[in-house]
C-alpha cells in the first residue's frame, strides 16, 4: 500500500505557557475529508496552520506525498517549494473571504491568478477558465468583471473556493468555510462544496466548530479539546455514538430547530 497523502506525526505548538497543540498525529488518504472539531481555543486553527506550513511547529513532522509519489517532509522543504505546493497542489479557504481574495481585483482576476502563476499567458483561455469556474460555483456569469467588494458574503466564499480549485489541487484546507454566513446560504455552500469534493476527488482538512458541517462534508473526524485530540473516528460513528464525555457534551449542545 502506498503512503498516505498526508501523515502528521506528533505535532506540537506552544504559545508561552499555553499548549495550543499537544502531540497530534493523524493520516489522511487521497480523496478523504477530515473534520477537526472543537470549541473556540481548542487549537484547531493552529493545527491547520501548522499542517499548511503557515506556522512553524515546535516539534513533530508533516509528510506530504507529492504527485510523483514521493513523501516529503514539510518542515525541511524550502520556502519556495512550500509556496509552489500551496499554489499548485493545495488550496486554502479562509473563514474571512477577504483574506483569501484580492479585494481590489475583479472576480475573473482572482480566479485567474493561480493559472497565471503557473505560467498561463493566454488571456482568452484564462478568461474562459474563470468564466467556467464562476458558473461552477453558481455565481452569475455577468459578475465576472465585478470586484468581490460588491459580492455578498456567500458569493465571496464561493469565489474563494473557485480561486482555489481552478488549478485542480489535491488537498484543500478549510478554516470555518461557512462561518458568519446565514443558514440558507450555508446550506447552499455546503451542497456546492460536497459536490465539488466528490467530483474532483479532493482531500480536505476542514476545521469547524459546527458539527452539522462536519457531518455533511467529512468522512472522519478529530475532536480537539485544549490542544489535544480526545476522540477520533468515522464521522457518523463519533457523532451518533460519542465516547468521550466532552464529545457527548458537544453533540448534545447542538440546537435542534
Amino acid at each position: 500500500m502506498s503512503a498516505p497523502l498526508l501523515a502528521v506525526e506528533g505535532l506540537s505548538k506552544r504559545f508561552g505557557a499555553t499548549h495550543a497543540c499537544r502531540s497530534i498525529s493523524f493520516e489522511l488518504e487521497e480523496g478523504e475529508a477530515l473534520a477537526v472539531v472543537g470549541e473556540s481555543g481548542s487549537g484547531k486553527t493552529t493545527l491547520l496552520h501548522m499542517i499548511a506550513g503557515l506556522l512553524p511547529a515546535d516539534s513533530g513532522t508533516v509528510l506530504y506525498r507529492n504527485r510523483d509519489g514521493v513523501s516529503r517532509e514539510l518542515g525541511i522543504m524550502s520556502e519556495g517549494e512550500r509556496r509552489a505546493l500551496m499554489r499548485t497542489q493545495w488550496g486554502f479557504v479562509h473563514q474571512d473571504a477577504a483574506r483569501g481574495l484580492r479585494m481590489n481585483v475583479s472576480a475573473g482576476g482572482n480566479i485567474g491568478e493561480r493559472l497565471m502563476a503557473l505560467g498561463e499567458r493566454h488571456y482568452g483561455r484564462i478568461r474562459a477558465s474563470a468564466q467556467d469556474w464562476l458558473e461552477r460555483v453558481e455565481i452569475p456569469a455577468n459578475r465576472l468583471d465585478d470586484s468581490p467588494q460588491t459580492y455578498s458574503g456567500g458569493m465571496r466564499q464561493r469565489l474563494q473556493i473557485a480561486r482555489n480549485l481552478v488549478t485542480a489541487p489535491r488537498l484543500v484546507f478549510m478554516d470555518e468555510p461557512t462561518g458568519g454566513l446565514d443558514v440558507s446560504v450555508q446550506a447552499r455552500l455546503l451542497d456546492l462544496m460536497r459536490g465539488l469534493i466528490a467530483e474532483m476527488g479532493l482531500a480536505v482538512v476542514l476545521v469547524t466548530h459546527d458539527l452539522a458541517v462536519a457531518r455533511l462534508l467529512s468522512n472522519r473526524i478529530l475532536v480537539m479539546k485544549q490542544g489535544e485530540v480526545i476522540e477520533s473516528g468515522l464521522t457518523d460513528r463519533v457523532l451518533d455514538d460519542p465516547q468521550a464525555p466532552y464529545t457527548q457534551l458537544l453533540v448534545s449542545s447542538v440546537l435542534a430547530a
Binding site: 520556502e79 519556495g80 509556496r83 499554489r87 484580492r102 481590489n104 481585483v105 475583479s106 475573473g108 482576476g109 485567474g112 491568478e113 493561480r114 497565471m116 502563476a117 503557473l118 499567458r121 493566454h122 488571456y123 482568452g124 484564462i126 478568461r127 465576472l144 468583471d145
Partner: protein, 284 residues
Amino acid sequence: MSARAYNFAYLDEQTKRMIRRAILKAVAIPGYQVPFAAREMPMPYGWGTGGVQVTAAVIGPDDVLKVIDQGADDTTNAVSIRAFFAKTAGVATTTQTERATVIQTRHRVPETPLAEHQILVYQVPIPEPLRFLEPRETETRAMHALAEYGVMHVKLYEDIARHGHIATTYAYPTRVAGRYVMDPSPIPKFDNPKLDDCPALQLFGAGREKRIYAIPPYTQVVSLDFEDHPFERTKFDSACAFCGATDSFLDEVVTDDSGGRMFVCSDTDYCERRQAALEKEAAE
C-alpha cells in the same frame, strides 16, 4: 568664500562610496532592487532625490551632464538639477543627447539612440512593480526572490477585462535578463523597447523608497504581455507640429479654449535639432 563650499557633486566621499557599492551590486544583478541609505537632498522627495544621488555617485569632473524632465531640457526640474551639478561639481552641461556622458531623466528615454560611453540615470518614484497588488514589502521581497510573478499578469488581465486592451501606458512592467520583473519608472511604454539591448548603462534611483536598480549594457528587457494581447508600442496618428517627426513620442498641447490642440515632440533636443536641420535644408 575661501574654502570650497561643497564637496565634489555635493555628497561626501563616504556617501558616494556607499551609493557606488549599491550600484555595483545592482549592475551585477540586473533588475534587482538594492536597498541603499538614501540621504536627505536639498530638494523635496518626488523631485528626483534618488536620481540626483545616483548621478552624484557616478559623475566625474570630465563628464558632460544632460538633464531632462518629460523629455524637455527646459523645465524647472531639469534646469535646477543641471544648475545644481554645474554649481556643486563644476561639470559641463549640455542639452544635446550625443554630447552627454551622463543623462539624468524623469519619465522619458531620449529619442536619439544612446551609446556605450553614456549612462542614463532614471528618477524613480515607486520602484516596486508588485506594489499595486501586494502592499507588504516582506511579501514582495519573497516574491522577487522566488520569481513568483503571476500577480504581475493579474494587473494586465484587469486592464484587458476593464478596457479591452492593456491600458497601462506608462511604468509598464518589464522582465530584465529573464529574471527580475522591474518597474522601468514612469516612462511611457513607447520607450520600453529602447531599454532592451541598450548599449548605455541604465541606472535607476528611488530616493524616498531608498532603492537602486540597474540594467547593464546590452541586457534583454522584455515587456510583459499575453500571447493573445501582445505588447504594443504607442502609435500616434499625427506627426510633430514643429519638426514633422513621426517616430518620436508626442505630447498633446492645448492651444486655446475652443478645443484647439497640437502634438509636438516631448524630446525638445531631438525636435529642435530636427527643426534646425530642416531650416538648413530649406536654405540650401
